[in-house]
Symmetry: C2
Subunit: 318 residues, 2 copies
């Protein structure tokens, strides 16, 4: 057992002021990220950001959440559909329809199941089948990535800022398949029974322990990068699967817009920490082996969803 | 890939009526649990249940949550302290002080850090150190349990209704240590910096992805068995670590009582599904290998926190 020096402080606080030069205190994962060089932060393109504005809360406070859409090679037909829907302002005036505790928040057209009442979809949406849930590659680069032990796939890796599950296509080839995984804040495409794979007009995000059994069974199209608390703290629905039972309970969506369609003054800008850099490697190691002062026993490992990829607002240019 | 028959239905619904005798549909994990014999359900003693009543919500609706306390051999000095605190009605009028998204809800004395204002603790509370976070045993039974692959410990098992991490004391002995793990809904003892291990007057529960790095670093003393939605849907605190910044934001606790201290008419009764029975084995397998109609690719595994132990209200005697 590693015994850190004893200091009085509030739960889980590891203040920098507690550092003792004779007994240096290991930095926390957050402190490691703060030390990253600016070159390790990668800008997210505005056409990959979706800004969701809910009706204000009871105090009249704004509720805004920002989603990063999945980059290639994953789930691109659905991502393109989502851009089409956002450009058509299709979600405006629709609603959060479902909040299931320790599972998902789902939004879309409350009348979507009733063809007579459903809002017509914009033209040009692609219909994609389950084959689109994974991407295959012969790129041997994957062999060079740090492999995490994973209960749901042969191994898991971080690549280009995203957590992925990986499997080999066969035991005697270098072709592999990879897929984005359902961590907290992942955004996926609601669908009915297979082979329906949804268009992207109904979406959900994870608000509980990672439901990784959904991996490769639904298209993962993005993740919340800001404001998930406006979704995760909503009242749970009391109907089956957490659907709201009355129209009054539903939370209205004022608008969902691509950041690239917003006026520049209102356009949020975000960066993610490169998962290929030295800082991310140190951060991931520190998440798996907490050595900051609060901790006594480092675990020696972490599951991929307990190593969230750091995302931040882009700092103002100097 | 396993392709189930295609049926139109809402997201994640696998209705029993969809079963087709020529192509039988595998039961969902929930359907397997419903088929358990009554002898597989084990009653939770009323002195192991803590009933937490919050102030009513804005609509005046009751908010009640029920915690099951950890049975021996784990964390018993803290559990006994918690019983002492409940019998003294110590928490009554105190509050939820912290809600951190994807992490924890914490309750206790908002003035606990200020000795002049803090509510005095009842006498007789045990002070226990970090050695109490794990239990050791030479009982070879552990070898017979189904071992789950785990990123945080050599392996994980279910035993007597609880998810545990397990490690060997050394490579050449049969002595092992085991500890309860931080899954969604786990209840732990808030503490300051080590070696403080807390008394149990400040408690928290997990409302996000399992923060398993806290295992063996904090005493796990129980789990929510009902009503966690009253905690997980609270507004997130805007101070550091999700602490509420003003007294008005805090949610008052009306009372916390042992079920055994309540009048029998007001005493809730719960049962958990034996984790040693045939039904739990089938349920855990189905959680790891979803074969019900919605699913296309069974994962082939699940992490221990994605296999929640079924708990139910005790049915009325026949």
């Amino acid at each position: 057992m590693i015994r850190p020096i004893a200091i009085a402080a509030a739960l889980l606080v590891a203040p920098a002021s507690a550092q003792n030069p004779e007994n240096p205190v290991a930095p926390s994962p957050g402190e490691i990220v703060e030390q990253a060089a600016s070159s390790e932060w990668i800008a997210i393109p505005p056409e990959d950001l979706l800004v969701m504005t809910l009706a204000p809360d009871r105090e009249g406070k704004e509720r805004r959440a920002v989603i990063q859409l999945m980059p290639p090679p994953f789930s691109q037909p659905w991502v393109e559909n989502i851009r089409t829907l956002a450009k058509a302002h299709w979600w405006d005036g629709l609603a959060i329809v479902r909040v299931q505790d320790n599972y998902v928040v789902q939004w879309g057209d409350p009348e979507g199941d009733d063809k007579a009442k459903a809002r017509p979809l914009p033209s040009g949406l692609a219909a994609t089948g389950e084959a689109g849930y994974v991407a295959t590659s012969e790129d041997e680069d994957v062999l060079r990535y740090a492999k995490l032990q994973d209960a749901y796939s042969p191994f898991a890796i971080f690549r280009d800022g995203w957590p992925l599950g990986v499997d080999w296509q066969s035991s005697h080839s270098l072709t592999y398949s990879a897929w984005p995984v359902h961590c907290y804040g992942a955004v996926g495409v609601a669908r009915g029974m297979s082979p329906d794979a949804g268009t992207g007009d109904g979406l959900y995000t994870v608000i509980g322990h990672a439901p990784r059994h959904l991996d490769r069974n639904i298209a993962v199209v993005g993740r919340l990068v800001e404001g998930i608390e406006h979704l995760s703290s909503l009242p749970r629905g009391t109907g089956p699967l957490g659907f709201y039972e009355t129209a009054e309970e539903r939370v209205p969506i004022e608008s969902i817009r691509l950041a690239s369609e917003l006026p520049e003054s209102d356009r949020p800008a975000f960066q993610y920490l490169s998962t290929e850099g030295e800082t991310f490697a140190r951060y991931a190691d520190a998440r798996a082996n907490r050595r900051d002062p609060f901790f006594i026993v480092p675990a020696g490992g972490a599951d991929i969803c307990n190593i969230p990829v750091p995302v931040r607002r882009s700092p103002a240019p100097e």
